[in-house]
Symmetry: C4
Subunit: 311 residues, 4 copies
């Protein structure tokens, strides 16, 4: 038995860590509860990663701010060189002149170049030549990131909020289900469930890779119920609800698929804790035969109904 | 035997669904017959997916419409600020002025910037600075999508319109064939056939993964005939044509390959129903030895000839 | 034995085709000798594939030609509308006016927009607004293809011109070797050799997947000699040079690797015919220990020396 | 035993090369110590590879230099055609005129096109039309490379500076550990260790693929200690520290992972020599339970403490 457990063992990179009893290594949204200390800023931060992962408002804000800052800097340089080296400046007060110069800078950095205001003399021309090239390069980064964010795939799978323990053949099984709410097609979907639980009377946690009734499917057009049958080899064998809570179990879900629209492999992660498991419930049927195929009522994904467990 | 069937079982994410007798889960073009209800618009729609999958006329239409709308909005803003803040406006009637302002907006959003008409004064300049930046960003999305569509690989495989049941060694076999009509090379081509059929006297369907004579080839320069030998382990064993129709069989084909030109993995799907199977036919030879290699007459892909089945 | 051959059989998508005796399915450069007939132009041609595979001169030529054609068309439209609707046209003769309008078109399609010549009036402005947008979209395709070509990986492996039959342990073996002349690193390199040969007294060819001493390596910093030991299970067993020639053997090589610089999987193909095999030769050593590592003399890749074969 | 060694053998593409005793095939930073001779420049150099791998200062330098050179060339052409064919040139001395023409070129190549200076006459217009198109194409390459460099993933794994020989169950084991200092998530991490060592009394080196306690993990949020247990099948069996040094051992590490932010497979390589192994040391614990998960003190990655080895 110890031997078998070792076979099942699957580290996940989580190790046997000491932990408080309400420990959650993986949040519902797939992020990890981890902090890394004493890493230098430049080692820790990957700018591409940050720019592609941040929220849209923050991203747009950074682009707008960058546009403002760059134009302010170049406006200051042109102003310092002298507004007499720009044709067409009409303002007379310094502040208004600065504002006009600021707009000239904006017309230069975007390579708009109306020409109503244009540089004359070497210094202003050098700065404009540099600014326009810099504009092309930095807008390439900004628009590249913009498109990169837009075209970045993400498996936006919906997980059933509760997992259940339901009868399965002559056993019981741990089950949850997923649906792809989007119109894009997921292919070659693979799932793995790792179980983490407190080792009795210690501060260590053990990890087990759970055996599944089926761990991959070719497409995911409908819903998919993932099933871990609790047989005598399962680390959950003979545990009841309160024992699972006492052992502070965490089911760590990892799903991998190929997203056809994006032509890329995508990953989705989530987790279930003991408190999120409904014992003696099974999921209700969502699929309905229609004239031309199958209809799925996604809003009922979480719906379960009582059922008698096998003993 | 029940055991073996279970081994062969392959869910495909299609589950054992109730269905009417003329059910088709997968259309010939690889799309699924499924409707998802009660999914919010923003959960269901992935804009990238929509923009990359829609037809070319629709895509071009959206870009033109967007161009029109954006320029109308900005023209309205400039017009509201006042045409006296744009140099070079020559029209005198309001409607003609608006049209001139509209063209100025177009020159700004594309960063064309002739400068015959140019903003003067802070408000018009601010709007122009914003519009030119917005133009760079939104044209980056539009051109990114344009190139993304253009460079998106798709395995444009041609499937033989009929499948056949033909003799194979001392058995019979289910066969269809494919050809890549394009000049780009497909490598590491893998095929799987799943059989879905009505369970007798129930409304449920069973799914079986069919064993193939060969399920992958290294290249696909010519045609490839995919063969499922109907031996005693096959779920088709001893079924005749009318029994297949009664069981409402559906052969679900999935093909995966690496497209060398696009450096990407591509998928192709199709399906055959009982009515699309020719019994006692075999495919005619398409390949012809030529002076410098092999010639393939693609137009004869569907051609079959009568043949005596094994009993 | 027949059973074993069947096990070794590997179709490659080449089928058992009739062929003339000097048949070569795969050219040295990895292209296939195949012609497809009766495929409609639009089914056969994938524009992306064509544009990414054509030679650089042809590609540059197409871009230049497109630039010329587009400007000629738009120049004709502006000219037809009337040069009086463009400010700054200085020429008086029709031909010179057309040339000036042509340059105005070029300034518009590139969004350069000097403004010395600028549209005035609705028609000319509408055309300019359309042309500048069209310019952005079509240059996005052109520059996307340009960068796509530039960033397209290709495993530029060098194959030894001859293959050899050399002693290997107490057997003989078919061997060839490869080197990556480039500085980019190839990882997880996998090779397969398929043997195609004429079946005695028929017009059919058989295909065999050859067993290799080693079919993959983790990196390819140096040279790699690929070895097929000719044991009693090999389809080459007991064949001598003239028998190989009579059977018109073709060794079809396929190599797959991950190119670290391009972060992509790359493929390379080549082939050897009987006439390209040196019997009783082995490859000379290319690697030389140096102060800080290993030196490889790539120019000696083809060099072999006589050796006594095992009998 | 010889048989087993052969089974373990893993060439890595490094072959059995003659080598001096302080040979290191793979540097700590993952580059190989190899020089290739007699490869023509164009065979050896892949421009994309060079531009994507070079240092940032060098890359920026090349872009600036290219900008300067292109503008100097076009300025010379315009100057040679004659400054009278450019409107708005105000300078009178040749050198100042050349400088003004240079700035005009910069405004053209970036498609800025103020228009204060504009071409007039056919020759200057032709050159400007060509330059603006060339500008679009070459800036597309420059900005493509810029974004390609920015978005290129690299597994910036930190390896523990020393490896250790520490007790493991009732054996000893070779161990090192890694951490991902960045915020981006690495998934499906796979590691392989190849051992290269001098064959006694020869100039040849043998290569062995070492068996690992665990060779892959699903995520890498924390640290991962990679363990090769030195059992009786290990090529390190019964070797002590001085024997390892005498045999000039080199542990070649290759790590492969999927970088979620970049949606790409990434590789990392490193190596350990005998002198970098601490005997009878084990790594100290870095993970600390925190209120909401786990804390990792990355600065202590190299920290070890003495431990009694198993005998």
């Amino acid at each position: 038995m110890a031997e078998e457990k070792k076979e099942d063992f699957h580290d996940l990179g989580l190790g046997s860590k000491a932990s408080s009893s309400s420990f959650r290594s993986l949040n519902k949204d797939g992020t990890f509860n981890v902090n890394k200390y004493n890493v230098s800023f430049f080692e820790k931060i990957n700018f591409f990663h940050s720019l592609i992962s941040m929220s849209w408002p923050k991203f747009i804000g950074i682009i707008l701010l960058g546009y403002l800052v760059v134009n302010t800097i170049f406006a200051s340089i042109y102003y310092f060189i002298g507004v007499e080296f720009l044709t067409g400046i009409e303002a007379t007060s310094p502040s208004n002149q600065f504002i006009e110069v600021f707009f000239f800078s904006a017309q230069t950095v975007t390579t708009l170049g109306y020409g109503r205001v244009a540089p004359i003399g070497n210094l202003a021309n050098i700065v404009a030549a540099i600014e326009s090239m810099l504009g092309l390069l930095s807008f390439a980064l900004a628009t590249g990131m913009l498109y990169g964010r837009f075209s970045k795939p993400s498996a936006k799978l919906k997980y059933s909020t509760p997992a259940v323990i339901a009868p399965y053949q002559d056993l019981n099984a741990f089950m949850f289900r997923i649906v792809n709410p989007q119109n894009n097609q997921l292919l070659e979907v693979e799932v793995s469930i790792s179980l983490s639980m407190q080792r009795a009377n210690t501060e260590f946690r053990d990890f087990f890779l759970l055996k599944l009734e089926r761990s991959s499917i070719a497409f995911l057009p409908y819903t998919w119920t993932i099933v871990h049958p609790i047989d005598e080899k399962s680390p959950l064998h003979l545990l009841n609800a309160s024992e699972m809570a006492a052992k502070d179990v965490e089911f760590i879900i990892m799903i991998k698929a190929f997203d056809e629209s994006f032509s890329q492999t995508v990953y989705s992660r989530s987790s279930y804790k003991a408190s999120e498991i409904k014992w003696g419930h099974k999921f209700v049927k969502l699929a309905q035969a229609e004239k031309n195929g199958i209809g799925i009522d996604v809003s009922r994904l979480d719906e379960t109904e009582k059922v008698q467990l096998n003993s």
